[in-house]
Symmetry: C2
Subunit: 130 residues, 2 copies
DNA sequence: TTCAAAATTAGTAATGATTACTGATATCAT
DNA sequence: ATGATATCAGTAATCATTACTAATTTTGAA
């Protein structure tokens, strides 16, 4: 028996399921603390890492220096707002053909790619048009 | 006069020009120290950041927790070896069409994308086939 | 149910990359 | 040459994340 049940891990998992906005460890910590007032940040990190390693979560490194986590584990693309930093899912299918294109004149083996789209989100577009 | 000449910055720039392997701040530090034995790591970081902000360098966040820098500022794609962590340039043109694809059914504005291709580099492929 | 082995935890310390601060030095227009 | 100011070296601080440790939970079997 390698993995034991833990209420804290379950609470973290359940919280992640409710969020589509790719929260950071700190946001998870703040929220799970409502149910477990003295859970420690280390426990949050350990479980987020564990769940990511098991494939139940995705760890996103979007370039803002903080890791984001995503309970939607099926491969998909992300958009990052350069204005507010919000991370949102994109509803387009994975474009496998670019792996083939990238492999042209390249002597290694390409297994896949990670793409982040950057721009301005709907919310920030509205704000700036005032 | 906002920007003054500095030998240290010039040395950092020149070192970056000689390297195609996207060194980290620490690697730059180690090398520039040959010419400036008591340059400080802070100076290296400050200048790498300054040059990146001016557009003379690219700051790459490839997902390994350390920033890499690239003197080739024209947009291009990168490949990261999952085995050894090496970062190499890919010789394919930017595929602008995926920005359009990504914009389908999306209400924000997409300005561009950053893609990292992952796999095994030529060198590591050869080693593992022993 | 009780018990002990092993996983997990809370709390805290340590790490590693990067940034900020400070008094001394280098650059440059006048 | 000189004064204003950008830059520096050295060091301290910050921030995200990981590691450590003694106490608590979980769990399968007695």
């Amino acid at each position: 028996m390698a993995l034991k049940y833990s209420r804290q891990r379950e609470a973290i998992k359940e919280f992640m399921m409710t969020r589509k906005d790719h929260p950071t460890a700190d946001v998870v910590y703040m929220n799970v603390r409502k149910e477990f007032p003295n859970i420690s940040l280390g426990t949050v990190y350990r479980n987020l890492t564990l769940l990511s390693d098991m494939g139940e979560l995705l760890r996103l490194r979007v370039g803002d220096g903080v890791d984001h986590f995503d309970a939607t584990t099926a491969p998909h693309y992300h958009f990052i707002c350069k204005n507010c930093g919000a991370v949102t899912d994109l509803e387009i299918p994975i474009i496998h053909s670019i792996d083939t294109i990238a492999g042209d004149n390249f002597n290694g083996r390409i297994n896949g790619h990670v793409t982040y789209f950057y721009g301005t989100c709907e919310h920030c577009l509205k704000k700036s048009s005032n």
